[in-house]
Each structure stands twice: as structure tokens, then as C-alpha cells.
Amino acid sequence: MTTIRHHLSDQLLMAYAAGQLPEAFNLVVATHVSLCDECRARAGSFDAVGGTLLEEADEIAMGEDALAKALERIEGLAQATRSEPLKPAGIFPAPLADYIGGDLSAVRWRKVGGGVKQAILPTAKDASVRLLYIPAGTAVPDHGHRGMELTLVLQGAFADENDRFGRGDIEIADEEMEHTPVALAGEDCICLAATDAPLRFRGLIPRLAQPLLRI
């Protein structure tokens, strides 16, 4: 595995640990953490903050028969079998494979022009996440951002004016950022991208086509 150079921000990891991210962002964070021990450890340290707040929380008494109910309930759970942990599928780490319901062959791509394909994954509506397929050597449709966009590379690589992003790398783009990423030669590039606002496509894709993209 190549070394990951672009990681999640503390802000995102803390929001993930606090359970405050939109579902679409959760998926990108969980997928990156599956590939990245560094961010797994950082996420764990933010979980510990949550643990501390829980420990220090004022107690609010449970109902009188709460413990009896709990003991009764676990009686039936005593023999509960261990659930099989989710498994990765091809280039998809487990949480993503779970959303897609399989590996690359299970993805239902839609063409968006210029050889670029996308597949929007079903999540809560407060943000959206999709897979992007960008043929090697092709420019990713130029877009300005509103809100925040996270892009995680799963296969191949892309580069923009500033940097190169390979498998496991995550690019965090905000409103100010206007960039033109290009999928590098070699393998076709597959990314997982989440955004909390609609994208405004320019360049490769005519503006008129945008409503059809359902982003």
C-alpha cells in the first residue's frame, strides 16, 4: 500500500467522533479511516473526549425498574452470536462496500460526459456523496464549491495545481478553492466525493446539464 499523505482535518475527526457529521461525510471519513491508521488513532483520541464528557455528565436517574428490565432483556441476548464484521470488496473498504452492496461491478454508473461517470449513493439529504470515475488523463469537471467538499481517492490518482492525490489520500476543498484536478496517466481514477452543497459544474460539462446530475 502506498503511503497516505493527505489526511482528515482535526475538525472533521472531532465532528465525526461527536457524531455531528452528515451521513455522506461519515461515509467518507469511515472509508478513509479504514485505510489510514494515523487517522484511526486520531479519531480514537477524540472518542476519548466523548468518553470523558459521558463520565462527567450529571446523572439522570433511570426509572425504578430499569435495572430489572435490563437484566430481563439480556437474558434473551445471552446467546447472541457474534456478527460477522463487514468485509472490504476489491478497492472498496468495508463501510463503502456496505453502501454499494458489493465491489466495483455492483456500481450503477451514469455517464456525465467526457468519459466521466458517477454514481450517487443513497444518504440523508443534508449532504450528498457519490463515486466518480475519471478516465486516466482526463480533467475532472471544473467546479466551484459551495460549502465543503471531501474527495477520497480509491484507485488511480489525480493532481491539481498544488498537489498529487493517490489511493487513500483525501482532499478537503472549501468555498474559496477553485481548482482543476486532472486524473493522472495510468489507471483510471475512482474517487468518493462528498459535498454539503450542490456543485456548480463548469468547463467540461455545460451548465445546462447540471440539473440532470442530481447532486
Binding site: 467522533a17 457529521l21 426509572g63 468495508a94
Partner: protein, 206 residues
Amino acid sequence: MTEQALSPLPSGVGAGAGSRQKRVGSLATTDDTDWAALLVKVRDHQDRAAFAALFRHFAPRVKAFLMKSGAGAALAEECAQDVMATLWQKAHLFDPTRASVATWVYTIARNRRIDALRKARRAEPEELDWGPEPEPDQAEVMEAQQETERLGRALAALPAPQRTLIERAFYGDLSHSEIAAETGLPLGTIKSRIRLALEKLRHQMG
């Protein structure tokens, strides 16, 4: 795998067990109760008395946590019950060298809250194959279990506005973009400890 992993543990022996006096079953739980040892008893022996002690300590805290996050009393009570049932059911996933019991309960409560209050799925990272833990290293267990206490002291020492900001982030009063990344808490040591454990694991798997 070592031979130790194959030899059965004597009943009641878990992480830290026997090293301290515990008052299981009494109403007054003390601050130095060895929660990890109790949860290990639940994990290895389906020990109901240990579960009851954990319930008395953590259920009212989970309820308070959920109510502060906006749940009504009835929903919070119901969810706290669910969280404690999950603790019983998933005890086999608890490893006292990796996280304190409070942290572990917190992650269950957080996920239950997302489910109940936001009705959204939460993607979880791929589970790592930690394998059967031979005799856990007692120093590592202590370190992980004392984390909550140490962080608690650091949290108490923070200026009130900063502390409030962290609380608001975890109780859902801030949007993700409002969350401040800089906590002022000594999280580096915790990160390093987990990082080390992960390196060890990768090495074993490699």
C-alpha cells in the same frame, strides 16, 4: 498465537481483577471502581452482577448525555436501555488495552443517538482483526483506563468558554463547520498509544 491464548483463564480473572477492592452490588460506587475488569467479566463470563454494576454507573450518565443532546426523558431512558443491552451483546469487542469503558460506552451511545435523533446511518471504519488477546499487558490496560480520568482533569482545567465549546460540539449544539479543531486537551498521548497498538497489530499481521 501464544500458548497463553490457549490455556483457559481461571474464572474471574480479567484485566485488573483482584488488584483493587470493588464494591459490586453496593449502591455507592467509588471513583476507583475498575470498570474494565467488570466489563471483562461480562465479556468472558456473562457475569450479571458485573453488568448490574456497570448499568448503575453508566445508564444514568447515558440518559443524561442523550437528554442534553435533545432527547426527551422517555426516549433517553429507552435508548439508555438499548445502549446497555448493546454493551452486553458486543462485550466481545471490548479490549481494555485500547479504550476506557467510558469511551467505549460513549461510542455506543453516540451511535444510538444518531439512529434515534437523526434517523441516519453511521458508517463505521472497517473492524480490525485484533485476534484473541493473550494476557493483556497490565500497564497498557492501566494506561488506557486512566485516560478518561486524566482527560477529565485537563477538561476541568480549561477556561470555561473553551470547555463549553467542546461540550457543545459533543452535545450537538454546533454544526460540523462550527466545531473548533483546537481543544487544548492533551490528545497527543492518546493518539500515540493507539498508533503504537496499531503498528504492533500490522506487524503481527504482516
